[in-house]
Amino acid sequence: MHLVLFFIFGGFCVAGALNLLLQRHPINSALSLIVVMTSLAVLYLLLGAEFLAAVQVIVYSGAIMVLFTFVIMLLNAQREERTHGSRAAYILGFPGAAALFALLTFIFISNGKSLGFAVLGPDMVSTSQLSSVLFRDLLLPFEVTSVLILIAILGAVALARHHEPHKDESKTQGKER
């Protein structure tokens, strides 16, 4: 059962990631990334991380990717065209990624025996266990990230707002279809 679920949702992950790579329109890439993230949430459940599974869907699929699709729609992004720069990336990119993958897979397979098995059920980490670690032992890092979020909000607002009055036309141009 566990193995079947792993292969189904792992397959979804890989298919979604490959689709992200192959699609030329940003909105299709964004949708395949949503598939990857939602399937990852199921894999987190299989690994006993129920809170993270829910947060993965809420934060990644429900907030971050909504922002991405929002920006794609707002800027009316078109299919990307191939240019000279991408040739070099084709030659360097694929071998580099393949070499990285081969190295990582070799290490994981050679150490596979010592890593043991993931079993469904007994190793579930409950939300209260997670929060007691987060709010007792790691309180300072938690507070620091909240400051980080605040700075990020301020930065985003400062970056995206208009500075000069004549920039108004560029905003309407983005929505034009």
Binding site: I27, A54, S61, L67, M73, L74, K175
Partner: protein, 349 residues
């Protein structure tokens, strides 16, 4: 718990809940037309069947028989996928809602499809994915009204989701759990006096939740994504026939889910308002009575939805965003601070 019993009962439960939910959706539409009609001093639908009771059937049949137009300029895969996403997310979130007391048959919960430890988060997660239905429908229609509606809707949903989530934290703090059954059990001790809205002092959170939920479901006074005076029909301008019906059904199914969550979190779910005042009426009545209370409370929320629609005018878009960020969010945060201070002083660790 036998696996095959579990599978069989689960499938039966899913089928029954789906049928009831879709019927409830159809009759919520009728209720809305009737109540809004009475508010505006007219009769509402009254010709089809007694009191217009067969009107939903006639509407469904009409939409089913309409020609399914596919405009030439649309981006086809997403245009077809969008209503499916919207309806699927609207129907999925009901799966973790408990409808009645914890009664087991062969080890399977009778009144809940899935009892999940993180039930509340599951509802938030599924509804947060539902925004793609609206966003993609607007984008793929290749129509400026649809696109504007979709942009408005996704911005509105992302902003109000914060206030919505934060308003629920007070309830979760009080119950100490994200499990919907535990949250209800905490409120079931002294009848209506121990409900979160009264005894839990979560009345501020209740109103923040209700306001944010109206914005999440795109209902008046926050129905800017489909404001007919500015955007014809908003994101579903280009949709016809069953695809349009799917958007329509998803909107009402979302309303029902929101009402269910409000009932569970603030009005004590299936627990009786009289607590344990009356003696037990025997096992069968004891099983059915909680379901009756639950349905009555959900019906009350649906009525409030329609009442608000018949009463309030629509917001302007900048007012909507300003209200979400500058009023609802600070109030929700203040509620969390006050609730946690109060719990910290009254309930020492």
């Amino acid at each position: 718990m036998n696996f095959w019993w579990f599978l069989l009962l689960s499938i039966i439960k899913i089928a029954v809940v789906l049928v009831i939910l879709l019927t409830a959706v159809a009759y919520t539409v009728l209720l809305e037309r009737k109540v809004v009609g009475r508010i505006q001093n007219r009769w509402g639908p009254s010709r089809v069947g007694p009191f217009g009771l067969l009107q939903p059937l006639a509407d469904g049949l009409k939409l089913f028989l309409k020609e399914d137009l596919l405009p030439t300029a649309v981006y086809k895969p997403l245009y077809i996928l969008a209503p499916v996403i919207a309806l699927a997310c609207a129907l999925t979130s009901i799966a973790v809602v408990p409808f009645g007391a914890d009664i087991k048959f062969k080890g399977v919960d009778l009144f809940q499809i899935a009892n999940v430890n993180i039930g509340l988060l599951v509802i938030l997660a599924v509804t947060s994915v539902g925004v793609y239905g609206i966003a993609l429908s607007g984008w793929s229609s290749n129509n400026k009204y649809s696109l504007l509606g979709a942009l408005r809707s996704s911005a509105q949903l992302v902003s109000y989701e914060l206030a919505l989530g934060l308003s629920l934290v007070g309830v979760v703090l009080r119950a100490g759990s994200l499990n919907l059954r535990t949250i209800v059990d905490v409120q079931a001790t002294h009848g209506a006096l121990s409900w979160n809205i009264f005894g839990g002092f979560q009345i501020v959170a209740f109103f923040v939740y209700l306001t944010a939920a109206y914005a999440e479901t795109n209902r008046t006074p926050f129905d800017l994504p489909e404001a007919e005076s500015e955007l014809t029909a908003g994101y579903h301008t280009e949709y016809s026939s069953m695809k349009f019906a799917m958007f329509f059904m998803s909107e009402y199914a979302n309303m029902i889910t929101v009402s269910c969550v409000a009932t569970l979190l603030f009005l004590g779910g299936w627990s009786s308002p009289f607590g344990h005042l009356f003696p037990s009426f025997g096992p069968v009545i004891d099983a059915i009575l909680p379901v009756f209370w639950f349905v009555a409370k959900v019906f009350f929320f649906l009525f409030v939805y329609i009442w608000v629609r018949g009463t309030l005018p629509r917001f302007r878009y900048d007012q909507l965003m300003g209200f979400g960020w500058k009023v609802l969010l600070p109030v929700a945060i203040a509620n969390i601070v006050v609730t946690s201070l109060w719990l910290g002083f009254t309930r020492p660790l």
